[in-house]
Amino acid sequence: MIEPGSPAPDFTLPDQDGNRVSLADFKGQTVVIVFYPADFSPVCTDQLSVYQEVLPQLEEQGAKLVGVSVDGAFCHKAFQQHQGFSIPLLADFHPKGEVAKAYGVWSEDHGVSGRALVMVGPDGVVTWSYLSPPLEIPGANLIFDALEQRTAA
């Protein structure tokens, strides 16, 4: 997995509405890339539901969130609408998993992204990364911890 201090590889992926979103669009801001295995799976749904619940607090502390999985844009749209999510969901669909591979979080065994969080600072450098065991959800507290450490540094 990509380590703190490394420049975050740029990418351009379609979001749930088919708009092309690049990492470079977030220059000057802190962004947390939430890599997850699959839309609608029970564990991923719990994970994004909890992050959605604290989205205002994360934004208040200066962090934007984007989700990335191998699901296509239409699937992302359905997942977002079904769950009432406003977190943008990016489709790492074609070539499949290219972004997950660039960040070193690809799971070849399962053909999906692993469950990982990567925080990228305003200068485009990774400030924190975390790879979770597949069925374990990283708590939102870990993101707040990384934001506090960023402020302290």
């Binding site: 749904t45 909890v50 619940e53 208040e60 502390q61 009432g84 999510f85 507290n141 707040f144 506090e148």
Partner: protein
């Protein structure tokens, strides 16, 4: 700025809803969550001290915060656990008229119940529980804490053996 970073679940205090006798189990739960309803049926049969904290997840359960506030409003008239049990034991009737019926059956002052469940004080109380859950790393409901260890999901075998070694 209000802190949301990691912190262990606070020890039970006078502000908490507590009942029963035995090892302390702190529950983080969502009153609209079916798994929490199932957990409730298991926990109510156990010789434990139950400490209830709200963990409403509104994207999964649109009525979660409304129900949490209703239970707190009932609590201001001394009927928190009655409302808690009532909601978890019948999650098929959760609209406002159903809440009024439940409140009337419990003998609550309905005007006061209505004002309280929409009050800032009650919203803040629910949010304080939720924030302590986020800080403790809760990611799913229900999650039970026994002696500082989280047990996510409906209590099963691992929770049972942890409880046996705590008693």
């Amino acid at each position: 700025m209000t802190r949301w970073s990691s912190a262990p679940p606070p020890d039970p205090g006078p502000a908490d809803h507590t009942r029963g006798q035995g090892p302390v189990v702190i529950e983080y739960a969502d009153l609209e969550c079916p798994y929490c309803a199932k957990a409730h049926l298991i926990l109510k049969e156990l010789p434990i001290t139950r400490v209830f904290r709200h963990f409403p997840v509104t994207s999964k359960h649109p009525r979660a915060r409304v129900l949490a506030a209703a239970a707190e409003a009932a609590g201001l008239q001394g009927k928190f656990w009655e409302m808690h049990d009532s909601l978890l034991e019948d999650q098929g009737h959760l609209d406002d008229p159903h809440l009024w019926e439940r409140a009337e059956r419990m003998g609550l002052d309905l005007d006061r119940f209505e004002a309280d469940r929409r009050s800032q004080e009650v919203a803040d109380r629910v949010e304080a529980d939720f924030r302590s859950g986020i800080r403790a790393g809760v990611t799913t409901t229900p999650t039970q804490f026994l002696a500082g260890t989280p047990h996510p999901g409906v209590p099963g075998a691992s929770f049972g053996s942890a409880l046996r070694s705590a008693t």
